[in-house]
């Protein structure tokens, strides 16, 4: 019974349908696992009573034969999603006392499908970061450890590090995340699991705390591509409350997993071969290319000429949008209020006390590039370069169906590393940012280990709205890679 948390979502659904075990037992297995793994700090709020209530309701539906798509499946929810009556803070002090009176559309869809919510997961403050170390609640820890330095705590990646760590440590079967510049794909790669950011507009952003509105997208983590597909099917779809959500039918993603790549053209972007890229990243990339060929794909070398401008473009646009989105945190209607001498002083004191260093940095850069005299040279220029980057992809997709690249330029790094150098931290997003700027679907699949024994992922980037092909390719690579290694924390706990 205590191994129930080791199942995949697909296997758990089978078992629940057959009544081999109950939803309550499945949830209890997760609650005990969460207790054992509490030192990873993956969860910032645990909701065991809510979870058991939801599990009981799921069991009743299985007994009555009215079970829903994800009935009884225990999931972790990133702190960025407003969950009704459950504290939601974006891992910021400024929202430390915020309890949403409403449910985000994405989490409502999961609830409507019968999912069980185990709790809210840790993340970088306001999703700003690539390590989850900017969380106001202390960093989550990667369940993987370096074979040559097992005492060093590693980052699970960011910003959705808590969700990624929870799934990798078997303390959730799946999890929601948000991805603005790589915040699902990169942590998935660092934690040896799968993660997908769908096309911008595929899922509703209503009820997700906004960071950068033209980039933010909800997505999911799981330990298999099939499990990602099962979750993505549920959370996708048009929402009249989000004017940027697409009014398009949602394909049955889990039926697209044919196991092969026959007839597909896989593009290899030459500019992603960056200077100083570690040999082991190049080596897993080559392996991926071989696997794709073996699965029936044709390999095409393509060029994305504006690749090197993607990270600087992002670090103008995202902070600019963030400075606008975070203007609402003024201590007036919700969140922390620090009284000042007058209205403006109250705004400034509340924000000064409530926001962390990275958030302040981004608000400052964002405000600057939007200010009079700089708007054209920075923000408008960045939007123009963004169009050039998006056009590069559109041209590439006349020659191929998907792109294959590494997800991150390395395996997980140590907590505390890179913290003194924001730009160095930003460059970890070099492979994930371009797809975000172009609004394209991207998925990371774990394919191997680096020389420290840490997971490395490959990224599949697709055409707009073509998550089905992205997942089909990811599924074939997953099969070829046969990545079965368990993180040290999980092996040692067994």
């Amino acid at each position: 019974m205590s191994d129930l948390n080791r199942l995949t979502i697909a296997a758990a659904l089978e078992g629940l349908k057959k009544r081999s075990f109950s939803a309550v037992e499945l949830t209890q297995a997760h609650l005990s696992a969460m207790e054992k793994m509490r030192h990873l700090n993956a969860y910032v709020t645990e909701t065991p009573d809510l979870a058991l209530e939801q599990a009981k309701a799921a069991d009743a539906r299985y007994a009555a034969g009215t079970a829903r798509a994800l009935d009884g499946i225990p999931l972790a929810i990133k702190e960025m999603f407003c969950t009704k009556d459950v504290k939601t803070t974006a891992c910021s002090k400024i929202l430390s006392n915020f309890v949403p009176p409403y449910e985000s559309t994405v989490t409502q869809k999961l609830l409507d499908a019968g999912a069980v919510f185990l709790g809210k997961t840790n993340q970088d403050e306001f999703a700003m970061g690539g390590s989850s170390t900017t969380s106001a609640f202390g960093p989550p820890v990667n369940p993987w450890r370096r074979t040559d330095a097992p005492d060093v705590n590693l980052v699970p990646g960011g910003s959705s590090g808590g969700s990624s760590a929870a799934v990798a440590a078997f303390t959730a079967m799946g999890a929601t995340g948000t991805d603005t510049g790589g915040s699902i794909r990169q942590p998935a790669s660092y934690c040896g699991i799968t993660g997908i950011k769908p096309t911008y507009g595929r899922c509703s952003r209503w009820g997700i705390i906004a960071f950068a509105s033209s980039l933010d997208q909800a997505g999911v983590f799981a330990r298999t591509v099939q499990d990602c597909a099962l979750q993505l099917e549920v959370i996708s779809g048009h929402d009249p409350k989000d004017s940027t959500s697409a009014d398009r039918p949602v394909p049955a993603f889990s039926s697209a997993l044919s196991g092969d790549m026959k007839g597909l053209k896989v593009g290899i972007p030459r500019e992603y071969r960056v200077d100083g890229m570690p040999a082991e990243i190049e080596s897993v990339w080559q392996k991926g290319i071989e696997w794709a060929k073996a699965a029936g794909a044709e390999i095409v070398e393509i060029s994305l000429p504006h690749t090197k401008y993607a990270v600087p473009t992002y670090y103008i646009i995202a902070p600019a949008e963030a400075s606008s989105n975070l203007a609402r945190y003024d201590g007036m209607r919700y969140g922390v209020r620090v009284p000042g001498e007058n209205l403006k002083d109250t705004y400034s004191k509340s924000r000064g006390a409530g926001f962390g260093a990275e958030v302040k940095r981004r608000i400052m850069i964002g405000t600057y590039v939007l200010s009079a005299g700089y708007y054209d040279a920075y923000y408008i220029q960045a939007q123009k370069v963004r169009r050039l980057i998006a056009d590069d992809f559109a041209k590439a997709y006349t020659q191929c169906d998907v792109l294959l690249a590494p997800t991150a330029p390395s395996g997980a790094f140590a907590i505390g590393e890179n913290e003194d150098d924001p730009v160095k931290m930003y460059l970890n997003d070099v492979f994930t940012i371009p797809a975000s700027l172009a609004g394209l679907p991207g998925m990371s699949v774990p394919v191997g280990l680096d020389s420290h024994g840490l997971p490395l992922g490959l990224q599949i980037i697709g055409r707009p709205w073509d998550e089905a092909t992205v997942m089909r390719v990811a599924h074939a690579l997953e099969h070829a890679a046969a990545f079965r290694t368990l993180p040290a924390e999980v092996r040692d706990a067994a």
Partner: protein
């Protein structure tokens, strides 16, 4: 080539309504200068005739029917208020 000196930090923090300690201001001079220097390479891209991209998925904004479909939950709206009274948010004086 722009600089992010202390005067700029102070000007931007006023625009952003952000209280910063002198130590934070000092640190930001260095960090924001580095970030600015990093993003300035975009200046070398020829963007003549290129339209700025704001709408990445080419979705046209829908207009909904002009009907009342929401509202009527004052208590929920005020639930997280730092200070509320008789159904209103209480804030520092706005007009002098």
């Amino acid at each position: 080539m722009s600089t992010f000196d202390l005067a700029t930090v102070k000007k931007v923090q006023t625009l952003a309504c952000l209280d910063l300690t002198p130590a934070e201001q000092e640190r930001l001079v260095g960090q924001l200068s580095n970030i600015l220097h990093f993003v300035e390479q975009l200046g070398e891209v020829d963007t003549k005739g290129v339209a700025p991209l704001a709408n990445v998925s080419e979705i046209t904004l829908k207009l909904r029917a002009d009907e009342v479909t929401d509202g009527g939950y004052q208590a929920a709206v005020l639930a997280n208020a730092p200070e509320e009274m008789e159904g209103f948010f209480v804030v520092p004086k706005v007009v002098e």
